[in-house]
Symmetry: C2
Subunit: 429 residues, 2 copies
Amino acid sequence: MNIMELAKIAKKTSINLAACDTATKNNALKAIAEALEKRKVEIFDANKKDIEAGEKSNLALPLLKRLKFDDNKLNEVIAGINSLISLPDPVGETLWCKQLDEDLELYKVSCPIGVIGVIFESRPDALVQISSLCLKSGNAALLKGGSEALNTNKILTEIIVEASTNAGIPSGWVHLLESRDDVNGMLKLDKYIDLLIPRGSNEFVQYIMNNSTIPVMGHADGICHCYVDSDADIKMAVDIVTDSKTQYVSVCNATETLLVHKDIAKEYLPLLKKELDKKNVSLLGCTETTKIIDVDLATEEDWKTEYLDYKLSIKIVNSLEDAIEHINTYGSGHTDAIITKNESKAKIFMDLVDSGNVFWNCSTRFSDGFRYGFGAEVGISTNKIHARGPVGLDGLLIYKYKLIGHGNIVSDYSNNIKTFKHKMIDKEF
Amino acid sequence: MNIMELAKIAKKTSINLAACDTATKNNALKAIAEALEKRKVEIFDANKKDIEAGEKSNLALPLLKRLKFDDNKLNEVIAGINSLISLPDPVGETLWCKQLDEDLELYKVSCPIGVIGVIFESRPDALVQISSLCLKSGNAALLKGGSEALNTNKILTEIIVEASTNAGIPSGWVHLLESRDDVNGMLKLDKYIDLLIPRGSNEFVQYIMNNSTIPVMGHADGICHCYVDSDADIKMAVDIVTDSKTQYVSVCNATETLLVHKDIAKEYLPLLKKELDKKNVSLLGCTETTKIIDVDLATEEDWKTEYLDYKLSIKIVNSLEDAIEHINTYGSGHTDAIITKNESKAKIFMDLVDSGNVFWNCSTRFSDGFRYGFGAEVGISTNKIHARGPVGLDGLLIYKYKLIGHGNIVSDYSNNIKTFKHKMIDKEF
């Protein structure tokens, strides 16, 4: 079947999936977890083929590492599924109820979005994670993984499809797309696909965002900042910036640029450098910075760059306002932190920095669905609508309005025979 | 200034506007209402010029009517502003607070989206309505009205700018775009504009949706249905369908297609026709319908058409499932109603019809922000993300996460020195 036909089936199935009850969905998740465990030898064999082919074609070591699906990864995805089972069903929740009139009740009820298109690169565990999130939230899914993981993805999808449909989930709710052309095909199917979630390199996500009329959830860049204010606790500022930069460098919430208030720079920067030298972080700085510590000169390009590496650009600023202006100009709206003992400055920073996550006296690395306690993470969004910051199951939901009357017609209200009450009541439907 | 420069100013101003306190925003709204009243002669004079030019260029009567800005319209927009003032400030609300650890608190706080681009056709009252909604919700606005209303729009914008900035709102928060090229210019400015709200003809909205990478909120079509079930109360079904079709025909929530269960069609359709004949509604029907009442034969095209006129297409269906299937195939996800005495059928209909508004035993015409009691209406959305159905102030808001620590670093948690608590607490920031 071609991508259009698969998308049509997914759309059609999504209607019935949306109405699936909680027990059926949880049983299906349980069945998937069990089947993954039971058929793990098949999965590992398929993954071995992918790894061998990757090695033959000289795939870079980090990619090979992501491609690997072993006992550890299996246990992680099974733990993820079990944690999803324990979460309340997010579908069908009455968000509020309002009496429009005595015999006319309006219910705002949560429901799935419909069909989610997920495009991810080499990690096969992402396939299990995202399809189980879609199942719990009642969304159909079209999955396109990296071609280097095709054998692993195929067997994982086969297991998920078989276990879930045997457990009563309507068949056709999840499909694996296999060809590279399918990605471009997906981007055009705005009639059938309601939301795209791309996971992968920045260039890749940017490409998806620029080439589809389907809403895209995600982030292209993670250019995060720490701002060390003149009122900072110096020791705390060293610890937080070191953690923000080096705790894990290849992720979107790692800090890429440090802003330092001019009044504290001379005292602070040498201490920070001493700490970062231990971790072999290469430093670049503005002209003022180079007068204090021995670092290369940063260019305009550095302020716009997500290094994802042991590398940090440093700029000395004259004021809190300049720091905020720099972040709003060069940042990516992801995560930015201020280190200060001054509460009112912290509040100004958090109000005026236009990012999904604004932190006071803690590491930018906290910006993450698991650390936020969302249980499962769909991704981190730098969108300004729908879902922002780390996104949990909530991001896969929307709502519908259910209005229940007893023959009510609008002309009675426009002719003032009846009047609206608009009274919130505590009722479910 | 060109559109890019204006958009940059709006983006920059939006940061400070987002942090404006409630009193300043409400005082500015009050000042706008007073200035509109005080300078109404200027407004009416400008509007007279537009009307005269419109008459000269043979503008259609409904357009001339929409273009008119008189005492009635003035009173309406002033009443709208006053009702906005009375609403609570939607910005800065702590949606929830969670302790990640004893000294690490996460706040989810509502905030404005940023810069809203609004493109509307001939109605100048829309300009006042949308800019006051943006102001209350702390969003900057780029407004592009129809060229036929340019004189009226200019004076209205001048008044809004002057009154609001005198009242302390940062200048540069609202701009009127004057040339037609500005519309296409706006569509490309995804770096500065966060959301587009087009209001106008279906073709126009569709054009915007197809030609911008900026998220668009709105609806292109309103193909709404009534389904009269075999268990319907016949009298109620006549009243509801008559109201849904004829109470106001040129709006998106008017019913365009009637679906009737085969077991009730013979009894129901003649009674309905009698009622609709009184209102001069022209009827088209499927082959089965033509065997019962004297109507023209509908074509496939009719099921996809939004008439916005005294015209109704009728189809006889074999089952509830067929009705749902028809709506999900031909509908636009706007508003669809079932008329039945059978609760379980109503529930199935409301769960399986994939529309923003699903109604039981009431008119589709209730689908409206004012009738839902939202106070002010941004528009009606058929999107599947962010905001669906009638959209009030809520649709102009998003949230940010504020994380407040005391020197917390991630390595303490990944090294198991500390563990997350993830405890919801009742606290504001």
